[in-house]
């Protein structure tokens, strides 16, 4: 009989331990994949966007801080990408069209950042820009020429880029919204265009009321 209470205690303890493991391991049953965990962590921490130096498709060079005061809708891409990036950019174009024109350029900028600075030079970005109908001003395509700055940004935002062995990269994709103060505000599923549009419009409307 004495033995049994120990066994019972051990049983209960292991069950509790197991539940704790799952609770902690999934951020309280919220994130079952590393990608959802990344999004959850980003939204909780809302990191500041590092002050990187951008070089856009028109050859202009400026630091990210110069864009402060506007909300920025961001994506990470590389132009040689053949699967997810075109989809991502097509969806971004869709979002761009659905946002009321009054906001665009004034309160909201679109920015596609290339993480392949070696190949994505100014001309390549310019070609890519035209392909997606971006005007290069309210929707800019830019690269971060400095590899250290780029790595820091990818690290901060948890963008994992892996070479796919065929000269391309695979990476986790999303829409990111950086607010006027330069902090991350939202991470959105890039496959849900309408949802992203609503989120952005809500945010813009709230700002106007303030």
């Amino acid at each position: 009989m004495k033995r049994n209470w120990r066994n019972l205690t051990a049983t209960i303890l292991t069950v509790i331990l197991g539940c704790v493991l799952f609770y902690v391991g999934t951020d309280g049953f919220r994130a079952y994949t590393a990608e959802s965990a990344r999004t959850y962590k980003l939204l909780k921490e809302k990191p500041e966007f590092p002050n990187v130096t951008l070089e856009d498709s028109k050859g202009r060079v400026y630091s990210f801080s110069e864009l402060k005061g506007k909300n920025i809708m961001l994506t990470f891409i590389y132009t040689a990408c053949s699967d997810v990036c075109p989809k991502l950019e097509m969806n971004l174009a869709e979002v761009y069209q659905q946002i009321p024109a009054t906001y665009i350029g004034k309160d909201l900028l679109f920015l596609s950042i290339s993480f392949d600075p070696a190949r994505d030079d100014v001309e390549t970005l310019e070609k890519y820009r035209k392909a997606f109908g971006s005007d290069g001003d309210t929707w800019r395509m830019a690269r971060i020429a400095d590899q250290n700055e780029l790595n820091e940004l990818l690290e901060e935002f948890g963008v994992i880029v892996i070479p796919d062995g065929e000269g391309g990269f695979t990476h986790n994709s999303a829409f990111y919204l950086v607010n006027k103060k330069g902090y991350l505000e939202e991470v959105m599923d890039f496959t849900k265009i309408d949802e992203a549009v609503n989120t952005v419009i809500n945010l813009l409307e709230n700002e106007v009321e303030e």
Partner: protein, 191 residues
Amino acid sequence: MKQAILGIILYGILCIPPLTNYMESIMIVHMLIQLPLLILVGWLIGKPILRKFQHFFANWNTNGVPGIILFIFITMYWMLPRAIDEAVSEWYIELFKFIGLPIIGLCIRDSWSKIQTLGRSFIFLNYLPMFGLMAWLYIDSPIQICNNYLESQQKVLGWGFLVITIWMVLYVIQAVFTDQSDHNTKKSTGT
């Protein structure tokens, strides 16, 4: 003792950094070779440990249930796509892997002999659909589930799980339909 030495050698080999990195760079090797081998390490080393702490295990794992519960929880945790992803990018998850899995190997060695046939069948039939589900998840997923692994590797892992599932189903079928009268002569007397 031989087994324990074998286990320690195996553990030592698995801990060699270049080999660890190599194994973890291929999804199916990470999931279906490295993880089971770490459990095997615990099972092998378990023999002398269980003998030495016989009293402790008899007290705290009398019917084998606590050990089995721990085993199930930790193996289920490693089925989360997130776990193997984070084992690659976070050092503390990696550490947990190298400590936790040998421990449950030890637990299963102690518990498996203690639990009844019903318990064993329950566990076996619990893992069968779980592996089937993993196979379906990884083969059928249109998106990349793990950030550190490519979609093509994900599919390979899915097929690996499918092979295991099929093997388990075949095992169940042969266990059900082959003559087991040697084991339970009493039952077979009835019509």
